[in-house]
């Protein structure tokens, strides 16, 4: 079945009911983040409560800073724009005589125009991406490999996921476990990290890649899922696999980064076994 690309930005500040959730998401830029905040607060884009949005925006920047993420200059520029708008809205109306002939505009108007414009193109981009693309859904005879799309994996992809994105993906899977099973006492089904590592490597053997989600089966216990996840982290650390995503919110793939097994599918010499 065609896999619809997961596109919408999700879950900033969401999922707070779970203590361990990572409240972080990657945004394509300050406008993307602002749109998210506007939607999340369900406020009117034409009448943005600037103090509220500015505060949440700054909270997000703070979070990025705390997590030592690269705080792109674009985000800081927008922060100062928001603060400027906020301060202008606090000022009294200019003297009518001085302002004569000049159009008095809402300080937010320019930002709103940009947000709306941005959203139009963002949506148009998503619509384009959902089309039946040559080399993805549709193929032509002389270039079954997708001559035009060959090797195209996005502007900055394929990129390795950072820990937060991986944790978030894992949290999404964990959230799917029914509550009743979440409290299960560990049964006989115990699995050591080394076993889990071998299991992952065995499944990866002979394959170019596998999907992150396929590591975890529905009937797995929470413990087993966590062990599997820790095994994956360990594999990343010792650089036996790469965890890669072609696009933000896209499917996560696990690649063997070096041939790690012999012909019989046996792992040779894990560094710590």
């Amino acid at each position: 079945m065609p896999q619809a690309a997961e596109t919408s930005p999700t879950s900033l500040f969401e999922g707070a009911e779970q203590g361990y959730s990572i409240k972080l998401d990657a945004f394509e830029g300050p406008l993307d983040l602002l749109l998210h905040l506007i939607r999340k607060n369900e406020v009117d884009i034409y009448d943005i409560p600037i103090a509220l949005i500015t505060r949440q925006y700054l909270d997000y920047l703070k979070l990025m800073k705390e997590l030592n993420l690269d705080l792109a200059g674009d985000f800081l520029v927008m922060a100062s724009t928001l603060l400027q708008i906020k301060s202008r809205m606090l000022l009294p109306l200019p003297d009518p005589e001085e302002g004569e002939g000049e159009e008095q505009e809402d300080p937010r108007a320019e930002l709103v125009r940009r947000l709306i414009e941005y959203q139009r193109y963002r949506d148009a981009g998503l619509e384009l991406g959902a089309r039946e693309l040559l080399g993805r859904e549709v193929f032509v005879r002389p270039c079954a490999d997708g001559c035009c799309l060959e090797g195209f994996a996005g502007d900055d992809g394929p990129f390795e996921l950072d820990l937060f994105e991986l944790s978030e993906a894992f949290n999404r899977l964990l959230a799917k476990i029914p509550m009743a099973r979440a409290h299960e006492v560990a049964g006989q089904d115990t699995l050591s990290i080394v076993d889990a590592i071998n299991e992952i490597l065995t499944r990866l053997d002979g394959q170019d890649s596998m999907e992150f989600e396929s590591l975890f089966q529905e009937d797995m216990s929470k413990e087993r899922m966590i062990v599997t996840f820790l095994a994956l982290l360990e594999l990343c650390r010792i650089k036996l696999v790469k965890v890669i995503q072609n696009s933000r919110y896209g499917t996560i793939y696990i690649f063997p980064s070096v041939p790690v097994t012999d012909d019989n599918g046996v792992v040779d010499a894990l560094p710590f076994t």
């Binding site: 394509e28 034409y46 674009d74 959203q119 193929f139 079954a144 994996a153 992809g157 896209g250």
Partner: protein, 195 residues
């Protein structure tokens, strides 16, 4: 073997062609036939494929006709295709959409619309030949202007640029056009009309 029909000849031409074939090109290759009958044959061929429920169909794309597999085959065909399926990041799609709808456009204009640096994305789109340099804008600094390519139309299954999906207005937040509301705000132009 009996004499091949025009439909069969065109089918053969389209089969061996390595890109979309325009009506002009077909007519040029088939000097013995009228342009109108070539056009009719192409349409009949297209309907044939359609009615037969074939795995291949004839699509009008990037100003020409091309035999392509039907999208429903994707799950089967992608097994044969090497590597991972092509994917576009959101930033690539955003940038591509802006270039497609607003061309000719400078990098600075794209960056204003997106609010982020777009150099790397543009570079990749250029390398993948989805975007090309159209020239330089006649303003100070002579910035480069960009537009989409024929490959863009091919990849995105578009007949021409007019086939782009229409830009939708912002949805689900508010239906009121922007300026109508702005005028009512307390900071609006109440001061005017005093002289």
């Amino acid at each position: 073997m009996h004499f091949p029909s025009l439909n069969a000849i065109i089918e053969g031409l389209l089969f061996v062609s390595d890109g979309p074939m325009s009506l002009d090109r077909l007519t040029e290759l088939l000097p013995d036939y009228e342009r109108a009958s070539v056009r009719l044959a192409v349409q009949e061929l297209r309907d044939d494929y359609e009615q037969r429920g074939s795995g291949v169909h004839l699509v009008e794309v990037a100003g020409g006709w091309q035999l392509r597999t039907v999208p429903e085959l994707m799950p089967y065909l992608s097994r044969m295709v090497k590597g991972r399926p092509a994917r576009f990041s959101q930033s690539a799609l955003e940038t591509l959409a802006i270039v497609a709808y607003r061309q000719p456009i400078t990098r600075q204009e794209i960056e204003y619309l997106r609010g982020v640096d777009t150099g790397a994305v543009l570079k990749t789109l250029l390398e993948k030949r989805l975007v090309k340099i159209l020239g330089k804008k006649d303003i100070p600094g002579r910035p480069i202007i960009y537009g989409t390519t024929r490959e863009f139309l091919e990849v995105f299954n578009l007949k021409d640029l007019k086939g782009l999906p229409t830009l939708r207005e912002i949805q689900s937040l508010d239906e009121v056009p922007i300026f109508e509301v702005q005028e009512e705000l307390p900071l609006g132009g109440e001061q005017r009309g005093e002289s």
